[in-house]
């Protein structure tokens, strides 16, 4: 029940040169990405890298104390392990699955070899790494200057882009960890959004009803990194992603 990787829903894979895609496909394995599956950990060598399809993976920065915050969000438009693309073998950030789904994984060593062998592949992945850096800079901006409501709107839009759908299965608690705010603060902000008919919230599930409305609420804190991605990887807006997932989870690899 596993379709070939070349039909993957991951945009970063799909937008690479067909030669590169063919080559990398031989090393990629379709995988179910379960909640909290870890891809990077401070002080540990990165062993595996993933290209999400319907899952969302978070990059979380931590200080020397324990409090963390999300510094990057990765979905079907990207990949984990940009440290490897940039010639390092580890990162001080944690990277783990935030919203379960599917994706394709590859051994870090394999990817290193492929990058050495194909400069077009290296270029392609490096451009994404730079876009992720831009996203992180925008997150720093939002964390410093936006209200909880604005940051929440931004996060929901980004997440919706990355799963290619409008329903997000996550709890207030998770959102509060990502945004680095109090859990009731999230509840409160969600109520405001729901009051404006911008989202519908059920238990552990948020559905976007009015994208333009959300973008207006996000008040300029959403969009910079996304437009830069489109400039680099082609015009289609991120949200327009209605391809079927490459992996049919019925009986897929555990």
């Amino acid at each position: 029940m596993i379709l070939p990787i070349s039909n993957t829903r991951n945009r970063l894979l799909r937008s690479m040169a067909s030669d590169d895609l063919r080559t990398i496909s031989r090393h990629l394995s379709p995988a179910r990405l379960d909640l909290r599956r870890v891809f990077e950990q401070p002080g540990r060598r990165i062993e595996e890298i993933c290209f999400p399809e319907t899952a969302i993976v978070s990059v979380v920065a931590r200080g020397s104390d324990n409090r963390g915050i999300e510094a990057g969000l990765i979905g079907c438009e990207g990949m984990t392990g940009v440290a490897v693309v940039m010639g390092d073998d580890q990162s001080p950030n944690e990277t783990y699955v935030q919203l379960a789904g599917t994706g394709a994984v590859i051994a870090a060593d394999d990817l290193r070899g492929l990058i050495l062998a194909s400069s077009t592949l290296a270029d392609h992945l490096l451009k994404y790494a730079h876009n992720l850096m831009v996203q992180t800079a925008q997150t720093a901006l939002a964390n410093g200057r936006a209200t909880i409501e604005e940051r929440l709107a931004r996060w929901l839009l980004m997440a919706a882009d990355r799963v290619g759908g409008s329903e997000l299965a996550l709890t207030h608690e998770l959102l509060s960890l990502m945004l680095g705010v109090r859990r009731p603060g999230v509840t409160n902000a969600l109520h405001k959004l729901e009051g404006g008919q911008l989202i519908r919230a059920k238990r552990a599930s948020i559905t976007i009803r009015d994208r333009p409305g959300l973008e207006a609420i996000a008040n300029g804190f959403y969009g910079v990194a996304e437009r830069d991605y489109d400039r680099l990887f082609g015009g289609k807006t991120m949200a327009a992603n209605d391809v079927e997932p490459a992996i049919n989870l019925a009986g897929a690899a555990s």
Copy 2:
């Protein structure tokens, strides 16, 4: 009064392979980096890249409205223009000199050529680019979770590392722009630090008196990116930088 680039005080240059340093030196020009000199601007092609020596350059992220915030700080440990190193030719962030001083500049096109010609050079600069990404992630963390006092302590430590000295010539106003907070908020936090004998503040000048004390106040928000830099580029701590500047600004340094 301009010494050869090979004696530069820039650590990123000094730590590269001697072949690469020799080659790149032929394209580098020593330069005075005056306040507000711009190296990158959203939507514009990056033409010139600099390796600061005694200057500090800021990467500032802006949203679609006008409010910006510092997302990266670059001094004698790094370089501007990581977008170019990563195969792009522009960035949505602004990059400009925050604290005047000296440095070396190179045309972006020249650097592109050198990177293509030397994979060891490319590797070296890419590692720095990754470190800058880590720094930005830590900034996102600090912006989201630290108090003004903690963020200020962090910023002062980072800036002192990057100028290789303990005196910083800047105003509360500038700091408030970088940190994205109210100007009186900076004044207030500086008073607290001064009360604890951690700094001495004069008009448009802050001197660090007690580094360990400042690190304690920074409360875990300083150090992660710095330790990662040392892991990548060698053990010496950033602050230990007592080489003379390559450019003698006669009379400029009071």
